[in-house]
């Protein structure tokens, strides 16, 4: 029977529209945030670049959870480090966000604002006392009541330096700089002695540098940025002096942490921030550097080092809220965080864990020296990355800093412009 033109048109339209319906956001009518029900069901757990090195740890962890709560099944997915925010945003927009997601506070903020993160102050307030107060507070979003992720591991990084390059520049390799003023003086001397061939630093100042230098980053309400204050301008002015003297690498304006790390390995840069994990890397990739490696605290004028906080967010749209909350708590409880800390150079965010002898007693090796020093500094550490500081804001700051370093704008004008751009972006975020 010949098909009528109208039927054909209807079929074509259906064929066009039906696949598109899959593009809309799904997952409506998800979890209510009520964790009081039975812990059961299938949940998905997403980590951030952890499978390659810690596969066994997570598989055992999941097996333990499933044993503790029969009737649960955890599917573990791991995403590569690069493009992690894009992956989360694609999943969030498509309504396919996993039930438990590994996030940093800056990733958490837009998800919480969009109503995609479960408020733990309502759903799991009983667990708050298990964590360090600063770590729990680190999962709050300015301007939004509630706490939106379980604090997971904390990290801070020491500053590595090349003792051989320090010695060649006439600097004492056993007395590395610990404040910005000392750093700038040493860097200028290094550039002068090496005739501009060795830069002390390889990256332009970040928002964390402004924080550690003593600049105020945001107002108390979290509604406007303030890093263009006198301290901020002073820091950028000093960086400009370093750049002109080649004490800051000439390619710093386009550098990434990875590219600067490579320059540190080749001795083109004398100091670089890192973590205890990097020691193994130096040993393998640059044995001659490893012999001359010096380790010191993060450079700071405030007495506080920067702390990086990881969290586990429970998707507000999960169909199995009790299981998702139980699992996120299980992964981040004191016992499991301690077990993870013994596998990798991270620090637990649970109360009292940092007093464990593992974090307080040295055994004479560099690894334990870094660990003990980092654990000690973590007790007073501050998360200098404002939670609302988005990728676009980071780019705006880097661009204005680059203009100041090139002499296209004064440090004051550059920071004023950066603050203006960041405030505009903040307003647009809503």
């Amino acid at each position: 029977m010949p098909m009528s033109r109208r039927t054909l048109a209807a079929l074509a339209l259906a064929a066009l529209v039906l696949p598109l319906s899959a593009c809309g956001s799904g997952g409506d009518g998800g979890g209510s945030g009520d964790a009081s029900g039975k812990v059961e069901g299938d949940i998905t757990f997403q980590t951030w670049n952890l499978r390659a090195n810690y596969k066994d740890y997570f598989e055992d962890l999941i097996a333990d959870f499933e044993k503790k709560y029969p009737g649960t099944h955890v599917k573990w997915v791991d995403q590569p480090a690069e493009g992690y925010a894009d992956k989360i945003s694609a999943d969030a927009a498509a309504g396919t966000l996993p039930d438990v997601v590994n996030v940093s506070p800056d990733l958490l903020a837009p998800l919480a604002k969009a109503g995609l993160a479960t408020d733990l102050d309502k759903a799991a307030a009983q667990y708050e006392k298990e964590y360090l107060p600063g770590a729990w507070d680190g999962q709050r979003i300015p301007g939004l009541p509630g706490t939106y992720a379980f604090p997971w591991y904390l990290n801070t990084g020491p500053m590595f330096y090349n003792k051989e390059l320090f010695e060649k520049a006439g600097l004492d390799p056993d007395k590395p700089p610990t404040t910005y003023d000392a750093l700038f003086a040493d860097a200028l001397q290094m550039a002068k002695k090496s005739k501009g061939k060795v830069a002390t630093l390889g990256n332009v100042p970040t928002i964390e540098d402004f924080g550690r230098y003593g600049a105020s980053l945001m107002n108390k309400d979290g509604t406007a940025f303030t890093f263009n204050d006198a301290k901020g301008v002073e820091l950028l002015t000093k960086y400009k002096q370093l750049y002109d003297a080649k004490a800051l690498d000439p390619q710093a304006l386009t550098a990434t942490p990875e590219s600067t790390g490579k320059k540190f390995l080749t001795g083109a840069v004398a100091m670089n921030p890192g973590s205890a994990l990097d020691l193994e890397n130096f040993k393998k990739q640059a044995p001659s550097l490893y012999k001359n490696i010096g380790i010191t605290d993060q450079i700071t004028n405030t007495g506080h080092v920067n702390m990086y906080v990881m969290g586990l967010m429970v998707n507000a749209g999960t169909k199995h809220t009790p299981a998702a909350i139980a699992f996120a708590h299980f992964v981040t409880d004191a016992e499991n965080q301690m077990a993870f800390a013994k596998k990798v150079a991270i620090f637990p965010s649970t109360a009292g864990s940092l007093d464990d002898p593992y974090f307080t007693k040295e055994d004479g090796t560099d690894v334990t020296r870094v660990r003990v020093a980092a654990a000690k500094s973590l007790k007073t550490a501050v998360n200098y990355t404002p939670v609302l500081f988005s990728d676009q804001m980071k780019t705006a700051l880097r661009n204005e800093v680059a203009k100041a370093l090139q002499g296209k704008e004064s440090p004051k004008a550059a920071l004023d412009n950066a603050v203006k751009a960041c405030d505009r972006l903040l307003k647009q975020q809503g």
Partner: protein
């Protein structure tokens, strides 16, 4: 007349044999048949081209963000574009990219094709060698060039050896853009060379012979015989390469970094779309407005090239 009558009469049936089954008539195709054949392609186009395009056009008039649906804002995004310094930087760089790469990509592959079309021993090796960059991954190519042009890379080491000193290929705004253009040209040479080889195969040998008899030298023959003969191919290459150059992303991203060079001064329009519209706080509406501008300029470029082609034909 008689022949047509004969052709219509059936041949006489041999006596004693049963009547043959009438030949199976070929059914006329349904009017829907072409659509059914085209349906898979149309569906893919609708889902992956048409829908995103329409969606982008709609989003360009909203303040949509990655996780927030957004509201209709009229021409606000386009008004903001006019006052956005980074947009003008992106537009300038994209236009410069077209101006810097297209002439090279129209002329150099033609010269290369003339070189490798000769059948001399070992020429296959050179043809393959010139084509290799085309099949190489742009990421690998980009990284290799970054290593070569680094402050401590091979090129700067050579320059230092001959006393020129280090050149900041990857730290100077303009040198960075020129370096990225050089990579685009180097990578595209082989592709356009193949197109020219096909066109050159169609140029009659007699024309060259006649010109040679008339005393035309190699350069004269190139200008008066080869170029007019492959003119339409040159226009095709100009069209393809200008659209690709205007939409450049990978080369600049890999060499200038995600920020688009120092202070973002090497940002191209497509990089700006990526930077503005992606991530959890991406401004999808604004990025869509920039995309529409890229689309409009691309269409204008194509029209200009087609117009040039038509004018030449007259």
């Amino acid at each position: 007349m008689a022949s047509s009558t004969v052709s219509r009469t059936h041949p006489p049936r041999p006596a004693g044999r049963p009547a043959a089954r009438p030949a199976r008539r070929v059914r006329r195709h349904l009017p829907t048949s072409p659509w059914l054949f085209a349906a898979p392609g149309l569906l893919v186009t609708a889902v992956f081209v048409l829908y995103p395009f329409v969606s982008t056009v709609i989003d360009a008039f909203t303040d949509r963000r990655t996780l927030v649906p957004g509201h209709f804002v009229g021409l606000a995004n386009f008004r903001e574009l006019l006052h956005d310094d980074m947009f003008w930087t992106g537009l300038r760089n994209s236009v410069l990219y077209v101006a810097g790469t297209v002439p090279a990509l129209v002329v150099l592959p033609l010269l290369l094709a003339l070189l490798v079309r000769k059948n001399i021993p070992g020429i296959t090796f050179f043809r393959s060698a010139f084509y290799t960059p085309v099949v190489a991954s742009i990421v690998v190519v980009g990284l290799i060039w970054v290593w070569l042009l680094d402050e401590r890379g091979l090129v700067n080491s050579l320059l230092q050896t001959i006393g020129v000193g280090r050149i900041g290929f990857l730290s100077d705004q303009w040198l960075l853009l020129v370096s990225a253009m050089a990579v685009t040209v180097w990578k595209g040479l082989g592709y356009y060379m193949i197109i020219y080889l096909a066109a050159l195969a169609g140029v009659p040998r007699e024309l060259h012979e006649a010109a040679a008899v008339d005393g035309a030298g190699a350069v004269r023959r190139f200008l008066t015989v080869t170029v007019p003969a492959v003119r339409s191919t040159m226009i095709l290459v100009a069209a393809l390469s200008s659209v690709a150059a205007f939409k450049v992303f990978s080369e600049v991203y890999l060499m200038a970094g995600p920020d688009g060079g120092p202070a973002g001064e090497d940002t191209t329009l497509v990089m700006l779309v990526q930077r503005t519209g992606t991530g959890l706080t991406g401004r999808v509406g604004y990025a869509s407005a920039i995309s529409l501008v890229v689309f409009a300029v691309t269409v204008i470029l194509m029209l200009l090239v087609l117009r040039a082609d038509r004018r030449e034909d007259v």
